[in-house]
């Protein structure tokens, strides 16, 4: 019974010319967005790789100098470009691409791509996500708003049920019949896309991307299922097909265009995070730590440890030790500060995700950015990895100084090192996190998406059971 209804519904849709050319438009836009996105990603990746190589050359090509000077010269880490950028830009335009790593300071990544784009770019760029999050749900609404309301208005609903079709079967049949044509079009498209990636992308990229693409497909399918469910629910309970359509269009519009902005705004108010003032204060605190105090402390300690009375007799270079310990202290304080900043952003993100209880897009969009590697957590992961590297190389250089500089209380002007030390520091090798990790930080979004699905699976049959059979 369910299958019979589903088949009839699907056949009707597939026979409708409008279905085919709207699907064609969707596919053309998707392919266009993905193709141009791919070209863009390739270009960016090439440029980042080139830049990283040039930077390494600059680093190893440093002239002979004091190792600590190299820590001041610093080096850049370039944020890797996610291969799935064509699918969803996420926050990549608003997070920096180059992170400068030097001693005595932690910095945020510089040069956000949005700063180099025109103002109109803030209106959004065409990615696969835009098509999947805005256009496809609209099509779902247009295809299914009349599922029950239309039959009711035409007067075919009562006769259908009097034939002995159970309401549950009808609900399931309609849902299946609406989903089937969509799946028929979208699933092959997804498979083709994945296959293209597997064939044309380098193996590590493909290996990293494919599980994420699979999960993305699932997330979007769930999103489409939610829209089918909501559409059927409204269709069952609305006064007329026109009323159902207007309500659904209102839902689609509010969900797609008002909710994200409203959620971001509200979350910023509810969870303000670290203010500019507090941040400046934190930085000032670090800056205020005086060198004199530290010199005194380190000197006293070294003298005590070695049981000598003057710095001339100690066995290590005191300024080197001071540098090492200074780096330790400053790094700890800076890390705490940046952690507060990042936690603030992530907290805001979670508050925004909580809006997913009213608008499913608020659950799906974060998941989409997470799986494509374009969310804030991925940026933070990169920044923290760079920070670990920074601390590592700076302290390596400081340790080198401790090990080799002339013992005493004054700066060793003579000691210089060259390429063997520079090249000895390994280049920054960043490993992007796994799909599991990506989802890990978005439990709330997953939960809400799940809630929507479960809720609709319960609500649609209930609504179909109670729906009026005759037009009012």
């Amino acid at each position: 019974m369910t299958l019979a209804i589903a088949k009839k519904e699907a056949a009707e849709t597939l026979r409708d010319g409008r279905f085919w050319w709207t699907t064609a438009i969707v596919l053309i836009l998707l392919i266009g967005a993905l193709a141009t996105g791919w070209v863009h990603t390739e270009r960016l990746t090439a440029q980042h790789t080139e830049a990283a190589e040039a930077e390494r050359g600059v680093w190893t090509g440093q002239e002979e100098k004091n190792p600590h000077s190299a820590a001041h010269f610093g080096t850049y880490a370039f944020k890797p470009v996610t291969p799935l950028l064509a699918v969803d830009r996420g926050l990549t335009a608003y997070t920096g691409v180059a992170l400068f790593m030097e001693g005595h300071a932690i910095q945020d990544a510089r040069y956000r791509p949005a700063e180099d784009a025109s103002a109109a770019a803030r209106l959004g760029e065409l990615t696969a996500a835009a098509v999947l999050q805005w256009l496809v749900p609209l099509l779902i609404v247009l295809l299914t708003f009349g599922a029950f309301a239309g039959e009711r208005e035409r007067g075919t609903l009562r006769p259908l049920l009097s034939l002995g079709v159970s309401r549950q079967a009808l609900a399931a049949g309609k849902a299946l019949g609406a989903a089937a044509p969509l799946a028929l079009v979208l699933i092959p498209a997804a498979i083709l896309g994945a296959a293209a990636m597997a064939l044309f992308a380098p193996p590590e990229t493909a290996a990293w991307s494919l599980p994420r693409v699979a999960l993305l497909a699932l997330v979007y399918l769930a999103y489409f299922a939610v829209f089918v469910g909501v559409s059927l629910l409204v269709s069952a309970l609305a006064r007329s097909p026109r009323s159902a359509l207007l309500i659904l269009l209102g839902f689609w519009f509010a969900n797609g265009f008002i909710a994200p902005r409203l959620a971001a705004d509200v979350s910023e108010r509810v969870h303000p995070g670290l203010t500019a003032e507090a941040f400046a204060e934190g930085k000032a605190e670090v800056d205020a730590m005086s060198w004199e105090d530290r010199t005194v402390r380190v000197t006293e300690r070294l003298l005590a440890e070695e049981g000598v009375s003057t710095l001339d007799s100690i066995s290590v270079n005191m300024p080197a030790v001071r540098l090492y310990e200074g780096e330790q202290e400053e790094t700890e304080m800076y890390r705490a500060l940046f952690e507060r900043l990042a936690d603030g952003f992530e907290g805001q993100s979670r508050v925004a995700q909580a809006g997913g209880v009213i608008a499913p897009l608020l659950a799906v969009a974060p998941l989409s950015t997470a799986l494509t590697g374009t969310d804030y957590r991925h940026h933070r992961h990169f920044a923290e990895a760079a920070e670990t590297y920074r601390y590592g190389y700076v302290q390596t250089l400081n340790q080198n100084l401790i090990d080799h500089a002339a013992p005493g209380g004054s700066w060793d002007r003579e000691y210089v090192v060259g390429e063997e030390v520079w090249a000895g520091i390994p280049p920054f090798d960043y490993e992007a996190p796994s799909a599991g990790w990506a989802l890990g930080g978005h439990g709330l979004a997953l939960a809400f998406l799940g809630l929507w699905l479960v809720g609709l699976v319960l609500a649609v049959p209930a609504a179909v059971t109670r729906m009026p059979l005759d037009p009012r």
Binding site: A33, G90, A119, A120, L126, A130, L138, R261
Partner: protein, 485 residues
């Protein structure tokens, strides 16, 4: 006896009062406007306070520095020491008389106050740093304050009045226009109406007058409330309101044109939803994508690599850059004190000049590509009223591309003056006396005048006017005469 058009308009206005869709659309629009104004204003207040805090702190530091320099000089004079020596600084001592510390290390912090109308259209203002540190000897990256706005918030965009007008006004207009004659046809009243001696054109025009009137009223209420609260001048208010009215009327006209097909209201709603998504959302997004494809700006990674390579090259040249710099700037050579020819301050200045020269072409390329992208978007994007209205709103609020660029240019110009003031001092090894403090260059932000903003917005405004005329003309003339109601 008033003309049929006015008769229709008056009754239509009466009927609108009972229309639930119109009611709810209006309520949502006004509620959103209220929220947007509150949100935008609080954002502007925050930014203004932050800017003021930076300026106050900087002014304090400057005054303290001057006072300290003064007391040092007095002490020196008391001890009979010559005043042409100074402590280098920048830490312990702070070097308040050192041209290196004052000019190259501390510099000055400059901010640009948020424009009053940035409360209505945040535009690009949230993307750029609140303050810049201007120093000599560091041309490439004018030190900027940390970007502390959440990237999530930046990506989502601000919920300001511009957003309400760009996205919710079309919704209101489409809600008011989608069933222009369709609902009358479905209700059956169209038969009796058209059996009277009134032409379809007069009927449509009358309905448009009434519904357009409601739309106009809501728009004017929204913009006037915005301008009163945000505090803008009359010229900008007038233009902003005209742009918003034209934008709303465009969508109303589109709804009327779609309604002229003579199909059901539901069918109209479907077509209009697709039109709005296409014209208002997907087309602008596609244009931006195309712009970045046709005029791809190199990623900043390339810029950084070029800068670093140039820096490394210059460093390899040891002290030669100083000689090069002096060759390029002979006026400095005369005043130069040979003792400092190898001081790292002089080296820094010389290297900075050479690196800036080497990297110049890359910087120019960025600026060129960006200009090309913006031009492309403004011309091709003109096909979408959303792009036009967006550009106009931002230009009028002072937060668009041109205005941001102008602000950055002002900062850079100030840096030039600062550099020109302090570099000779460093080269000549002259102290920066307490008496010199008041004569250091001051930052003068020069925000765009109303006239300039209006001129910027004129293009989009004309585009919109054209689009609206086309739409409304189409709607009224397309009424199929032979279609039985």
């Amino acid at each position: 006896m008033p003309s049929p058009l006015l008769t229709v308009a008056r009754t239509e206005a009466r009927l609108l009062r009972a229309d639930r869709t119109a009611f709810w659309a209006s309520v949502v629009f006004l509620a959103a406007t209220a929220y947007a104004l509150a949100s935008g204003l609080s954002l502007r207040i925050e930014r203004a306070e932050a800017a003021r805090a930076v300026l106050t702190a900087d002014a304090e530091r400057w005054t303290e520095g001057q006072a300290e320099a003064d007391s040092i000089e007095q002490a020196m004079q008391a001890e009979g020491l010559p005043l042409d020596t100074y402590e280098w600084g920048p830490r312990s001592p702070r070097g308040v008389r050192s041209p290196y510390a004052v000019g190259m290390f501390y510099g000055r912090n400059v901010t640009t106050e948020p424009t009053p109308l940035s409360a209505l259209a945040v535009g690009q203002a949230d993307l750029y740093p609140a303050s810049h540190r201007v120093t000599a000897g560091n041309r490439i990256a004018v030190g900027s304050s940390e970007a502390l706005t959440s990237p999530l918030r930046l990506a989502a965009g601000a919920f300001d009045l511009a957003f309400v007008l760009l996205y919710l006004l079309p919704l209101l207009a489409l809600a008011l226009g989608y069933d222009l004659t369709a609902s009358e046809r479905e209700r059956g009243t169209l038969r009796l109406v058209l059996a009277q001696p009134v032409s379809r054109r007069a009927l449509v025009a009358g309905k448009l007058l009434a519904r357009g009137g409601l739309l106009a009223l809501l728009v004017i209420v929204a913009t006037t409330a915005g301008f009163v609260l945000a505090g803008g001048d009359l010229g900008r208010w007038a233009l902003w309101t005209v742009v918003a009215l034209l934008y709303g009327l465009f969508w109303l006209g589109l709804a009327a044109a779609v309604d002229a097909r003579g199909r059901s209201a539901a069918s109209n709603a479907v077509v209009l939803a697709v039109c709005w998504l296409g014209l208002g959302v997907l087309f602008p997004a596609a244009v931006t994508l195309l712009a970045s494809q046709m005029h791809p700006a190199p990623t900043r990674a390339t810029f950084v690599a070029a800068t670093r390579t140039a820096e490394a090259d210059v460093r390899q040249r040891g002290t030669e850059p100083v000689a090069q710099f002096l060759a390029d700037h002979p006026e400095m050579a005369d005043a130069m004190d040979d003792d400092v020819s190898e001081s790292f301050a002089v080296m820094a200045i010389a290297r900075d000049a050479l690196v800036a020269e080497a990297v110049g072409p890359v910087v120019t390329q960025f600026a060129e590509r960006r200009a090309q992208q913006t031009t492309f978007v403004r011309t091709v994007g003109a096909l979408s009223p959303t792009v036009l209205a967006h550009a106009a709103f931002l230009d009028l609020a002072g937060t668009g591309d041109a205005q941001q660029q102008r602000a950055l240019d002002a900062v850079e110009a100030y840096q030039e003056r600062w550099r020109a003031h302090f570099e000779p001092l460093v080269f000549a090894d002259t102290p920066f006396r307490a008496a010199d403090y008041p004569y250091a260059p001051q930052f003068e932000p020069s925000p765009e005048t109303s006239g300039e903003a209006v001129r910027q917005a004129a293009g989009p405004l004309l585009g919109l006017a054209l689009a609206v005329s086309l739409m409304l003309g189409l709607a009224i003339s397309l009424q199929p005469r032979a279609l039985a109601p």
